[in-house]
Amino acid sequence: MSNKVLAKGLAGALAASVALVPMMASAGELVIESWRNDDIDIWNDKIIPAFNEQHPDIKVSFTPTPPTEYNASVNAKLAGGTAGDLITCRPFDASLELYKQGNLTALDDLKGMDNFSDVAKSAWQTDDGSATFCLPMASVIHGFIYNKEAFEEVGVEVPQTSEEFYAALDKIKEEGSYIPMAMGTADQWEAATMGFQNIGPNHWKGEAGRKALIDGSAKFTDKPYVDTFTELATWKNYLPDGYEAISYPDAQNLFTLGRAAVYPAGSWDISLFNNQADFAFGAFPPPAPAGSDTCYISDHTDIALGLNAKSDNAAEAKIFLEWMTGSEFAELYSNELPGFFSLSKHNVEITDPVANEFVSWRQECESTIRNSYQILSRGAPNLENELWNLSAQVINGTISPTDAGAAAEAGLAKWYAPHQ
């Protein structure tokens, strides 16, 4: 008897849970897939409530995955049909491939799409520009963040040229109370992203050099690229002891604890530094060699939002995307996440002084994006992964700058016709 009761109870519970699952997912709840797990509070406390003021009937939930796992997990979820309605888009090929596989919807006819320039949209378009499949959100800018107190104490000025930059680092090293530059090579990507792609545009002349690599008229064995690696190789003199085993969070902590003078940065680091550093800090763009008439910065189109082609809530998702094209979102996003700069044409006032400093370089310098992102990371071996490995090795001193250029070129020549 008691067994029967138990069995009935179990069956009832099972039926109830089966019935509950679709109920929980229905009612037009939008799920956003993202790699920005640092931003979860800002989405939940600011952005989604602001959206719900206008559209109280649409529930939105922000479900991030750690950045290094995001691509793998979102690809697997899309293939398995379990991905959320809105997919945060990596720039260029990763998202282009998702579009080609039919996982993302073209958004050209979305109202408000003309609030974005062609350059902003270029990272999320087909090669011929006929379809745009993600809504551009923000770019990030590379440069150097410095500890103002340390500079004052040691008596160095903010460098204007690369000669001044290395002289300043030498002076800080000689003085000895600060680590000249906080970075490590353990995670490899900082060496490429904050190193190679940060100082490189000054060597390869920004967009001109990037496009020359794509059409095959420039090679990684050319002077600008070898020069970039050569400059990068000198960094090991300024990095903390044991930098080979120092990870990205270690470097962030070294800087926010006030133990380092300069930090090769992405503008996304600003909000963390605002929270953790109790000293004044500023920023300067990657210094160009003396006598150069133009400076170049990496102003990288980094993040966008796309619509899952298999979403059950496509209508609601489009309402959300349309809202995102407006000035309210641009204002909210740029100011709640200092260091992520809205790609829309709206005139956004940025209140954070350091973020404002970063964005002001757009006036003085020419913008470019990371050279490995468009087209060149399509084949195997993957150029971006190669640059991580080679940049880290150049700093570690296990490969010479010339050999690093040759290795990157050999990898590209293996599959990319313009380099063969």
Binding site: T68, A72, N75, E97, Q188
Partner: protein, 312 residues
């Protein structure tokens, strides 16, 4: 009923036999055999960009084993895996045997405390172990350098996890530290099963503790040692988690810590701008399966048959 012979009994029993075997068979087939066969099937296909998957025969295997870049990556991860395994066989298992021998000594005080402490790391999550050791060995915050300083060897300290020459060995040692409890436990259990009168007889004949261990206990636990070895082999060639937790899927520096598990992950799921390729990933997984299968078959035919077992 009285006339029913054994035949009828078996017929009657057939239904229960099937009923008892069915759950395990179904679950094993569904969750082990089917995925294994299907991933091998997957490795014979390829998907051109935007197209449908098509049968390509052994092309994927040719790519992984014959393309110079792929072959270099694959064999690099294979040899790294062999080194990882060698450290476990030469360090973890002898230490496990020695600790089990010491624990099984008569009149050892605090036996249970030692046992608990030695098995404790095995119960920790790999992610926590990776994190703890990264902190201990960190050149910035780590206590590693300070501890070496106490014994005057600070000059020997280096960023071991970040150097091409030492990263893999360091990770192997971390893994040994974590997993030494398993051989310890299995061999300790086998040692406890040895009857006391054998040991007593040897002691009466004048054998020392070491001689008792070497000539009596160790030969009796050889079958367990062999089993521990094959478990180590299978576990090491399936390893992934510690390397991924400490070095990420790019297994740096310069792929010095890349083992077959991380190579598989990178290939199957992709990494950063590199898109995943399920077919090449399944090929790497199938090759891992073949390598493990070869190792296990070698054990079954060349080792296990030659072991002498004693009826205690």
């Amino acid at each position: 009923m009285a006339h029913s012979g054994p035949m009828t009994d078996w017929r009657k029993a057939r239904l229960p036999v099937i009923a008892f075997l069915a759950p395990a068979t179904i679950i094993y087939t569904l969750f082990m055999i089917y995925p294994l066969v299907d991933s091998i099937r997957l490795s014979f296909y390829a998907t051109p960009s935007g197209g449908e998957a098509a049968f390509v025969g052994l092309d994927n295997y040719r790519t992984v084993l014959a393309d110079p870049d792929w072959a270099a990556t694959f064999w690099n991860s294979f040899w790294n895996n062999m080194k990882f395994f060698a450290v476990h066989m030469l360090i973890q298992n002898p230490i496990g045997i020695a600790l089990a021998g010491i624990l099984s000594l008569p009149r050892l005080r605090f036996r249970n405390s030692y046992r608990t402490m030695m098995i404790m790391p095995t119960m920790l999550s790999v992610v926590i172990v990776g994190f703890i050791w990264q902190l201990i060995l960190s050149p910035v915050w780590g206590v590693g350098a300070d501890l070496l300083d106490i014994i005057g060897l600070k000059s020997l300290f280096g960023p071991w996890l970040g150097k091409e020459g030492s990263a893999l060995i360091t990770l192997s040692f971390i893994s040994v530290w974590q997993w030494v409890g398993i051989p310890l436990m299995l061999i300790y259990a086998a040692l406890l099963a040895i009857p006391d009168d054998l040991v007593d007889a040897a002691v009466v004949d004048g054998a020392t503790h070491f001689e008792v261990f070497w000539h009596i206990k160790l030969p009796l636990v050889f079958p367990t040692v062999a089993m521990v070895s094959i478990l180590t082999f299978v576990g090491n060639f399936n390893a992934f988690d510690l390397i991924y937790a400490v070095k990420g899927a790019l297994a740096g520096p310069n792929f010095a810590t890349d083992i077959m598990g991380t190579l598989f992950y990178r290939t199957f799921f992709g990494y950063q701008l590199q898109l995943g390729n399920p077919h090449l990933g399944a090929t790497v997984a199938s090759l891992m399966f073949l390598i493990i299968l070869a190792g296990v078959l070698f054990y079954l035919f060349a080792v296990q048959r030659r072991l002498s077992r004693y009826q205690l």
